[in-house]
């Protein structure tokens, strides 16, 4: 369970979502999944909306031809993803060593960005990735002290850092705004002729910002909400707060809308789609990154205009910001 997505669980339990769903006359069910199966279910069109990172939105549904629209820009990882080492290694010492990570995920993206930003891109070829399942990666790294490097995300990062002699040498706070957490909806659902898709999006967005408003207040009232969110996903308040401290939540709809409409998002998505293309994540057919195109709120398109598969839609966040929901 990832910090930026935990609120959805509470949103459903607390009745906030129900209130908004009733207002827009739609039925919404929140179902908790493990991350990978949730993506599979979304791609197989068993679910209408799903939380995922910007990278997975591109390389899972979009690359599999499922036209996808991001309606909520939830947060970005501001330290949640990290490169951890033993024996005080530096990035430059990693080539030639083994690195535990879940290959072809944001972990690998973060790791390779770290190398690029430190002018070590040429050395990446000498890094030996060990694909490690995320359910065992903490145990594997902590138990096997011969392993030098691991790249993973919170709460695993916090758990691993409790081990002896382990240091964080690079984390996502050094690439702010690049690992984004989105709520995406299938475009064909969103544009259903009876308008139910739009009502659905409005209800979810409305409920989301009502809850975030409660979370961002300070004092005991917000703590109560945070504790309930943590509890809904079997976490504790201190642990959840610690995770929030390395997550840049877009608490207001306006800030989320600004990020979605920004030039920075275009730069980020350019990096992400080149990463995906380089590692063959866009499928056998897509020979270049351009075959899975991305459309931004201002109409700009990265890739072939006739192959738009991922869209960023700022309108719902703007409606929320303008109090029009």
């Amino acid at each position: 369970m990832y910090v930026g997505w935990n609120p959805y669980q509470y949103m459903a339990r607390s009745g906030i979502l129900k209130k908004w769903a009733d207002k827009y006359n739609v039925a919404i069910k929140v179902q908790r999944f493990d991350y990978a199966p949730s993506l599979d279910a979304f791609v197989a069109k068993n679910i209408d909306a799903c939380t995922m990172t910007n990278m997975e939105a591109l390389d899972m549904p979009a690359a599999a031809g499922v036209d996808t629209t991001a309606v909520i820009m939830g947060d970005y990882s501001n330290g949640n993803d990290a490169v951890l080492v033993r024996r005080n290694l530096t990035l430059a010492q990693i080539p030639g060593r083994r690195v535990l990570l879940v290959e072809k995920t944001v972990s690998q993206y973060l790791f390779e960005r770290a190398f690029v930003l430190n002018n070590l891109a040429g050395e990446l070829k000498r890094v030996k990735y060990v694909n490690t399942s995320d359910s065992d990666i903490a145990g594997a790294f902590l138990s096997d002290t011969s392993q030098d490097v691991v790249v993973t995300w919170k709460p695993l990062v916090s758990q691993i850092l409790k081990g002896k002699g382990i240091a964080n040498i690079f984390d996502s706070s050094k690439i702010p705004g690049e690992i984004l957490d989105l709520l995406v909806v299938r475009t064909d659902v969103l544009i259903r002729p009876d308008g139910s898709g739009q009502r659905f999006a409005k209800a979810v967005v409305g409920a989301w910002y009502e809850l975030l408003g409660q979370m961002s207040k300070s004092g005991p009232e917000a703590d109560k909400v945070l504790a309930a969110i943590a509890e809904a996903s079997q976490d504790t308040l201190p642990s959840y707060k610690e995770q929030l401290s390395t997550t840049h939540m877009f608490y207001t709809a306006q800030s989320a809308a600004d990020m979605t409409a920004s030039a920075q998002l275009k730069k980020t998505m350019e990096l992400v789609r080149q990463f995906c293309a380089l590692h063959g994540l866009l499928g056998a057919k897509a020979t270049s990154a351009d075959d899975v195109a991305i459309r931004f709120p201002d109409g700009a398109i990265e890739g072939k205009p006739d192959r738009v598969r991922l869209r960023f839609d700022v309108s719902y966040m703007q409606m929320a910001a303008g109090g029009k929901l």
Partner: protein, 285 residues
Amino acid sequence: MSLLQIHGRPGRTAAWMLSWFLFATGILAYFWVSSGRHKDNPDDRVMPTLRQMGRAFTDAVMKPAEDDEIAPDWDRQPVFTRMRNGMLWKDTTATGRRFLVSMAMLFPAVLLGLHMGMFPYVSLFFQRFVLFFDKIVALSLLPILFIAFGIDELAKVMLIAIGVAPTIVLDAFNLTRGVPREQIVKGFTLGAGDFSVTYRIVFKQIWPRVLNSIRLNLKGVMLFLFAGEMIASTDGLAYRIALLRRHMGMDTIIPYVLWVALLLFLVDLGMRVLNRRLHPWFKEV
């Protein structure tokens, strides 16, 4: 009609048709749904078409994995060289090596079972513990395995050994106990020592049955091997499947799964034939 009678005698055509019917319906149903999905979404990756799978499989056979160094003239090399550098070959040899090592580690398990069956002191020492150990779900103790064996090759092989060996020990033990006591007594009266009785009378009789029991445990071996490769690995068939799953590379995964099934079938067949050759008197297979 003798359709539902014990004495029914299906003819040649009926036998052929009946035994292939489920295959045919399965395949047809797959392609029917798949083509429907592709009409709806030409980029669908969940249920690839035959052509997509064919192309992905050829790529897997002929092309190196993407993270490997590619020789600049790789597409001009002879087919066999290309296959040897291909992704499928690399994965198969990696998995195959682990498989052979773990099969070799089952041999001591057979000997242990044999000695437990023959020598009361050995039996007392091991039996209760092995019985207990057999019921332990090894996969739930992974962190401890990581401490003891690291996370590399040794850990994967040990996972199989811990998962499958106790079953083989107990089976060999039971088979040994099943050898008629009279034969052992007879061996002694004819002047054989403890070890000649154990190896030349009992072992020879249980060996074909033990081979058979190993054969029936192949699937267990393979399951543990796959689990190990999915936990942490840099190569192997299950590693590739785990990796491809991350971006829905079903066009490669399905041929890979069929390839694994074929390999397992061949190993099974090989062991059956070997057993029949080595022990023509043994009729239980």
